[in-house]
């Protein structure tokens, strides 16, 4: 009942506010009149009675305010009027407001966007049941991860007892033909338990059966939801239908759920059983089953820890059993690398992501410091206002409430702008993100992160607003009123000075990191890839179809019929490409440097004639057409290039790279020496020439041992070749004509990865570039914020010290003296900040050392550059207030007081 009355009375009070206030005032006035009358009746004169009554009642306005403010509705009213007052305050100080809101928006937005992007990669569990139990298992080569062979997988799976399920998988890119243009699908060739390891089952149909993952087993396929809709229009009767992939009919047995996220191959749309032949493992140690090109996953049994599994696997690796023979390269004696799936997919990008996370935290800290600084500055400018309001009867609580309202309003605007920045920022991040970044499809603004940033910002804002409020005890309010007359040096807000120093220091750390990354990028782009990437167009063409099958059962040369068809197709295609107008030179290669061609597929053992037994080196094997080196611009150092004379029937020759020649022959000439590449039961290759080194997989890695063979003289015909085409004009524009030329030979062969070489090289450094862009952006924002902080501090100082400047000028200080006084003040703070930043920077740059290339974390140019830049920017920020101070006219200021 009472609650109801509270509500109705309150609402009535709100509706008839004027009347209610009038009544309250009237009641107080009546009280005063009665009191006056009472005093008069005791014999006081009119004047004396009035005085006595006033004394009795106290401050009329304050009493009226007290009486009026009873009831919850008045709290609402006060809040609304506070809000309106706050909005007016913000509007009247647009510079302050805009800078605060922008700062908050940048801080909140950037940190939320970055955290939202990083969270699914590093922290959020993968979208599988018990994701912590899914492990990746790798072989080891020189301490890093190396793919496993089917033979190793079979032994590990058979001997280990730690796993519920294990699987291997490798990329599978079948051609989907029949449509207007042949399309190459992304897919995976997997062992039967692949989906069981992930813990995901098809939503339609069934999973693979063990009987389907057998040598020459039935051709079956599981589709992703996306391809089911894209190509088959979501046909519910898809199960059991035959789909033509690479010239074969595959029966659809299942469709994966729409929300199935495949972190192992995000773009895979089709899956088929791998169908390896376990019998061949024992009979043929050189066979396909021992090629190390598979990745292996396993799901731990409940209750088995990763540690136990790792120990068991390494025990298996170190104790071979006779029933599982191992070839030399798959001896497993270097051990295995076992990692959780989540850590595994993130391990290459983790240092970069952590660096970015650190940078954004620094940025957020700078934003907070800046806002606190601005609010404090506003607070000290408003001391007079508070003093006046206090003198007029506003209680301390009332003023504090007003301040909090103002800061909350500011935080709210900043937060809303921050949300916008966060959404835009995340979209930009995903668009900019390098291909290696996993899980970009599921990146979305993390509500928890956004809420956290908003809450902390609101709290920081309130705290900053409270600091001036706390100073306003009654006594200080009076001091505030008197301050007018003694506003000189001294008490110049040491908190704010410290904050500016912190800002400069934080900005310095960010800038030094950005500077080092920039230097690295410069170094990297200056690296000579060993060929000329300008005006070079590349595209990959894979052959698919039964005309390229080798018929193993056919006798003699018939067995290689497929290889011959493949070579013929590529030669005809190359010929067609060479006839496209605008093409200057064209060639093809089995391995394109700095592309995403998997390097493991191209690494073979090479052995020179004078080497024996197991010795030799791993080299990149290039199967090339004539003119490849000329088209790429790879220089010939001695001997000759490969040309049309090197056919399948002529003597076998090879080009070797300079580094291989040097490491094996020193200064002696390798020409005419003989070597084996790959299988050793074939004729020797004779070295016909030495060519320059080429960066094979990355500009940062020196792995340049390479052997170039004529594509007609290799022991198998590659089914996937990259065309390289040097054009006279803009190379990207020629792409459609060249694709048409290839399809004029065979319209069923998909052409993919059409890209200029320059674009491709940029892509290999995408991760580094991504980090660099972020650091540059954050560094820039940090400098601007620090400059704003410095400018705000000094302007405030100068405004407060106008009188002092006037006195100084009157006593004979020249404009230059005053200018340098303020400048020195600002530069001293900058110097402090830089000194602190130097210490912090040394620690921070160690953390990004792994991201640097050819640049020391203590690179003097980067450090000196940043010192100079910060000093320059802060000098500019100091200049305006200093100039204003030097223009103070002593006559005017002194008279004004």
């Amino acid at each position: 009942m009472s609650l109801w009355r509270q509500l109705t009375h309150g609402l009535r009070g709100l509706a008839h506010r004027k009347q209610r206030d009038g009544e309250a005032d009237d009641e107080v006035l009546h009280y005063l009149e009665e009191a006056t009358a009472a005093w008069k009746s005791r014999g006081l004169s009119d004047e004396e009675a009035k005085r006595a009554a006033r004394l009795e009642v106290g401050n009329i306005t304050a009493v009226e305010e007290e009486v009026r403010s009873y009831g919850w509705e008045n709290k609402v009213r006060t809040f609304v009027s506070d809000l309106r007052f706050a909005a007016r305050q913000l509007r009247n100080h647009p510079g302050f407001t805009v800078v605060c809101i922008l700062t908050l928006a940048l801080g909140i937005g950037a940190s939320t966007a970055i955290f939202s992007a990083i969270n699914p990669i590093l922290f959020k569990p993968l979208p599988y049941p018990h994701p912590g139990r899914v492990l990746m298992i790798w072989c080891t080569s020189q301490g890093s991860r190396w793919e496993v062979s089917f033979g190793s997988y079979r032994e590990l799976a058979a001997r280990s007892h730690s796993f519920d399920a294990t699987a291997i998988f490798e990329p599978w890119q079948p051609a989907l033909t029949g449509a207007s243009q042949p399309e190459r699908l992304e897919g995976q060739s997997v062992s039967a338990e692949f989906f069981r390891v992930l813990g995901v089952a098809p939503v339609l149909g069934r999973d693979f059966l063990a009987s389907e993952d057998t040598f020459n087993g039935p051709r079956v396929v599981i589709l992703s939801d996306s391809i089911w809709h894209r190509v088959f229009h979501g046909d519910p009767a898809i199960l059991g239908r035959a789909v033509r992939l690479s010239d074969d009919n595959y029966t659809v047995v299942g469709v994966m759920p729409r929300d199935f996220e495949n972190v192992l191959a995000p773009r895979a749309e089709v899956w088929t059983p791998a169908q390896y032949d376990p019998r061949q493992l024992v009979t043929d140690l050189n066979g396909w089953g021992w090629g190390e090109h598979l990745r292996m996953v396993g799901r731990l049994k409940a209750g088995v820890s990763r540690r136990q599994a790792t120990q068991e696997l390494s025990k298996i690796a170190s104790t071979p059993w006779p029933q599982f023979p191992r070839p030399r390269w798959a001896s497993l004696r270097r051990g295995l690398i076992v990692d959780s799936l989540q850590d595994d997919i993130a391990h290459t990008v983790k240092p970069a992501l952590l660096a970015v996370l650190g940078a954004v935290i620094l940025l957020l800290a700078i934003a907070w410091v800046n806002v606190v600084n601005l609010v404090l500055a506003r607070g000290s400018q408003r001391r007079e206002e508070f003093a006046v309001r206090g003198a007029l009867g506003a209680s301390k609580g009332r003023i504090i409430r007003q301040l909090i309202t103002e800061n909350l309003l500011l935080a709210w605007f900043g937060g809303m702008a921050g949300v916008i920045v966060a959404f835009a920022g995340l979209r930009a991040l995903v668009a900019l993100s390098p291909a290696e970044l996993p899980r970009t499809d599921v990146m979305a603004i993390d509500p928890a992160a956004l809420f956290f940033a908003l809450a902390v910002t609101a709290m920081v804002g309130i705290a900053a607003g409270l600091i001036p409020a706390i100073h306003i005890s009654r006594g200080e309010m009076q001091a505030g009123l008197q301050q007018n007359s003694r506003r000189t040096a001294g008490g110049r807000g040491s908190t704010r000075r410290a904050l500016v120093v912190i800002e400069v220091a934080l900005a310095f750390i960010l800038l030094v990191s950005a500077g080092l990354l920039l230097r690295s990028m410069r170094r990297l782009l200056a690296v000579n890839p060993g060929f000329d990437p300008s005006h070079l167009l590349t595209m990959q063409v894979a052959t698919s179809g039964h005309q390229f099958d080798n018929v193993v059962s056919a006798p003699g040369a018939g067995a290689r019929a497929g290889d011959r068809a493949r070579r013929r197709f590529y030669e005809q295609a190359l010929d067609a490409v060479r006839h496209v107008p605008g093409v200057e030179q064209a060639a093809f290669t089995s391995l394109l440097p700095l592309s995403d061609d998997p390097p493991v597929d191209a690494l073979y053992g090479a052995q020179f004639e004078d080497q024996s037994g197991d010795t030799g080196e791993n080299v990149f094997r290039y199967a090339i057409s004539p003119e490849y080196c000329e088209t790429m611009g790879i220089p010939l150092l001695s001997g000759r290039f490969l040309d049309e004379r090197d056919t399948g029937s002529s003597p076998q020759v090879a080009l070797i790279s300079e580094s291989l020649a040097k490491s094996h022959f020193g200064h002696a000439s390798p020409l005419g020496k003989r070597l084996h590449v790959g299988p050793r039961n074939r004729p020797w290759y004779t070295v016909a020439g030495v060519v320059g080194d080429v960066k094979q997989t990355s500009l940062t890695i020196n792995q340049s041992d390479a052997v170039y063979l004529s594509s007609e003289q290799t022991w198998f015909a590659d089914d996937r070749l990259s065309f390289v085409i040097r054009t006279s004009g803009e190379s990207a524009a020629l792409a459609p004509a060249i694709e048409r030329a290839i399809w004029s030979v065979d319209k069923n062969q998909p052409v993919v990865r059409v890209m200029t070489m320059e674009h491709m090289i940029a892509g290999t450094e995408a991760e580094r570039r991504f980090v660099l862009i972020l650091f540059e952006a954050f560094g820039l924002v940090a400098v601007v914020l620090a400059a704003v902080g410095m400018y705000g501090l000094l302007s405030g100082n100068v405004a407060e010290r106008t009188r002092e400047m006037g006195v100084r000028a009157a006593l004979g200080a020249s404009r230059g003296d005053i200018l340098s006084l303020i400048l020195r003040d600002g530069m001293r703070l900058t110097l402090f900040g830089i000194m602190i930043g130097l210490c912090g920077g040394i620690a921070a740059t160690q953390a990004i050392a792994t991201l640097l290339f050819g640049t020391s974390p203590l690179d003097p140019i980067a450090w000196a550059g940043v010192v100079a830049m910060l000093a320059g920017v802060s000098a500019i920020a100091c200049w305006a207030p200093a100039w204003r101070a030097s223009r103070v006219d002593p006559a005017i200021t002194l008279r004004a007081q």
Binding site: M1, S2, R5, Q6, H9, E23, A24, D26, E27, V28, H30, Y31, E33, E34, A35, A37, A38, E56, V57, G58, A62, V63, E66, V67, Y70, G71
Partner: protein, 111 residues
């Protein structure tokens, strides 16, 4: 009037107002003056607290108010006890009596 007037004991203002109004309807100043008179000037009522308390009691349903002419023909807000207010007065009086006797006992025992 005594020089030693004291502020009303915390929490008893409501009871004093209710008691004062149980005799006859009064306006704000009248209530304050009556409390002072009856307490022989021991209690002094702060006008701000008094007027706020009146609003609170009215909001709680224990008082009614109306604007009326006073003897010297000025409009003033008069407060009157409601039935609920009467009951509340009894509750508070009983409660007060209980406390006073308890304190008295404590003081006696302690001596």
């Amino acid at each position: 009037m005594s020089e030693q007037n004291t502020d009303v004991i915390q929490g008893t203002l409501d009871m004093l107002i209710l008691k004062t109004l149980s005799l006859e309807p009064l306006h704000g100043f009248g209530i304050g003056r009556r409390v002072e008179q009856i307490s022989r000037g021991v209690f002094k009522v702060n006008p701000g607290s008094l007027l706020t308390a009146l609003q609170r009691l009215e909001r709680a349903g224990w008082l009614d108010s109306e604007w009326r002419q006073t003897e010297n023909s000025r409009r003033a807000k008069f407060y009157r006890l409601t039935a609920a207010g009467k009951k509340q007065l009894e509750v508070e009086t009983a409660d007060w009596a209980r406390r006073v006797s308890a304190i008295a006992r404590l003081l006696r025992e302690g001596a």
